[in-house]
């Protein structure tokens, strides 16, 4: 059986690089018939239109077919069917399952009981490896390398799963990190310990200002209102953490701004026309990376 993709830590450095390599191939030629006759199930136990459309387009452009549901309300899980039973039922029809689930650990469990490979498209606040791989692909594509880069991460570093996974994935490539977050959303201790153990240099600060002037990548995340007990504090943070075009004046010429999208107000619209803004292309890169992921779990590429 081929390996499921549940967590970015399931992949070695070599596997990450080979996925990115084939994503580059798919970008050069995204329409092929390599999934001809294959059926891929997309089981979305919670809605995520953005992620689902990206996976489904990836499959359809390779000639595969899609079955599934986009919302648990239309699935049998509302009738109390266990995840185990849903996975077994669907695996009778599909060659692979792409799933998103609100509960953490759902994808790991599904991968253990499933006869066909599982691709985790998000399990609660835990893992979302295709997002991490498309982040890496965007970094590789814009910088020409993943090695020795300075990555500045801004915003919700406490709950932001994309941040945590990116730290783990980048740890293979000798990075320097700059973490910018308000106290309420500071990077959890376990990730600071992780960096120290790996010998990865990092700095922490509370102010965005021009703290990213030596960065190659500025990774912005959404600061959500619900995370704050004190709404006055939220208003303050929201304004301090908004990136505006004039703040980019002294940044490096190769700097690219990434954001997992959707944005709320972390990036001012006037940044969109700056050539350093890369978040829309980043989303498009997701298509090629997901073509590579689906092909890999089906054993069609190394």
């Amino acid at each position: 059986m081929h390996k499921s993709l549940v967590s970015i830590t399931d992949y070695s450095k070599q596997e990450i690089l080979s996925i990115l390599e084939s994503a580059r191939d798919f970008e050069a030629n995204p329409n092929r018939k390599t999934l001809d006759g294959k059926v891929i199930a997309t089981l979305f136990f919670e809605p995520s239109t953005r992620t689902r459309l990206s996976f489904e387009t990836a499959v359809v452009r390779l000639g595969g077919s899609i079955i599934g549901f986009s919302d648990a309300a239309t699935s049998s899980s509302v009738k109390g069917e266990t995840l185990n039973d849903t996975i077994h039922m669907v695996s009778c029809y599909a060659d692979a399952i792409v799933m998103r689930h609100p509960l953490e650990g759902a994808a790991r469990y599904a991968a253990e009981v499933s006869p066909v490979p599982i691709v985790n498209a998000g399990d609660g606040a835990n893992q979302h490896p295709s997002q991490t791989l498309l982040d890496l692909y965007s970094i590789l594509k814009t910088q020409g390398t993943l090695e020795n880069l300075t990555i500045c991460m801004v915003g919700d570093l406490k709950y932001g799963r994309t941040v945590h996974s990116l730290i783990q994935a980048m740890s293979h490539f000798n990075p320097t990190f700059k973490f910018i977050a308000p106290d309420e959303l500071r990077l959890p201790e376990e990730y600071r310990v992780f960096c120290r153990q790996k010998g990865i240099p990092f700095t922490e600060s509370r102010e965005l200002n021009d703290n990213f002037n030596d960065a190659d990548i500025l990774y912005m995340t959404r600061v959500q209102k619900e995370r704050f007990l004190d709404q006055i504090e939220y208003e303050r943070v929201k304004n301090v953490y908004t990136l505006c075009n004039d703040m980019l004046a002294a940044s490096k010429s190769n700097l690219k701004i990434l954001h997992p999208l959707p944005r709320v107000n972390e990036i001012s619209m006037d940044v969109d026309k700056n050539e350093k803004a890369y978040y829309f292309q980043q989303a498009q890169n997701g298509l090629y990376v997901r073509q590579a992921i689906v092909s890999k779990v089906l054993g069609l590429i190394e």
Partner: protein, 153 residues
């Protein structure tokens, strides 16, 4: 006044001593002593010079497995386990936590799949800097020993 609880000396078996009084019944549960047919002596709320009040368990004719010792080490790391043969301590069992624990404790993450579906829990036991942590195989969260709750069997 004699406060020592008199318990019969053990000829062969296992003595688990210095269990914090509040942990005693958890250890009883881990070892599934409720269903055991071996002669057992259980004492609790005994005075201890070191830990306030303590519990003690003596199980005749049974020697604990390493797996059982590993589970006790998670709940009561400072307990002592002595293996007795012919009234003599023949082995002082070190309390080394097990590497993995299967369906012994609940995951402390309320949105973990194991708390919502009939999924047995599995934890990796991480031993770092003298601290013991449990990492859920499913939600990948890490917990301190004090945060976890034993499953009722």
């Amino acid at each position: 006044m004699e406060k020592e609880l008199k318990v019969a000396a053990l000829r062969n078996g296992t003595v688990i001593d210095h269990i914090p009084a509040v942990k005693l019944f958890q250890v009883v549960s881990i070892l599934q002593l409720k269903n055991s047919h071996y002669p057992i002596t259980i004492g609790n709320n005994l005075e201890s010079k070191h830990i306030g009040t303590k519990g003690i368990i003596k199980i005749a004719d049974r020697i604990l497995s390493d797996d059982e010792t590993g589970k006790i080490a998670l709940i009561a790391p400072n307990a002592t386990i002595n293996i007795i043969k012919e009234y003599k301590v023949v082995e002082k069992r070190p309390l080394v936590p097990a590497d993995e624990v299967h369906d012994l404790v609940y995951c402390a993450n309320p949105v973990c799949i194991t708390n919502h579906q009939p999924v047995p829990t599995n934890f990796y036991v991480l031993k770092e800097d003298g601290q013991v942590k449990l990492k859920c195989r499913y939600c990948e969260r890490e917990f301190l020993r004090e945060e976890i709750k034993l499953k009722k069997k």
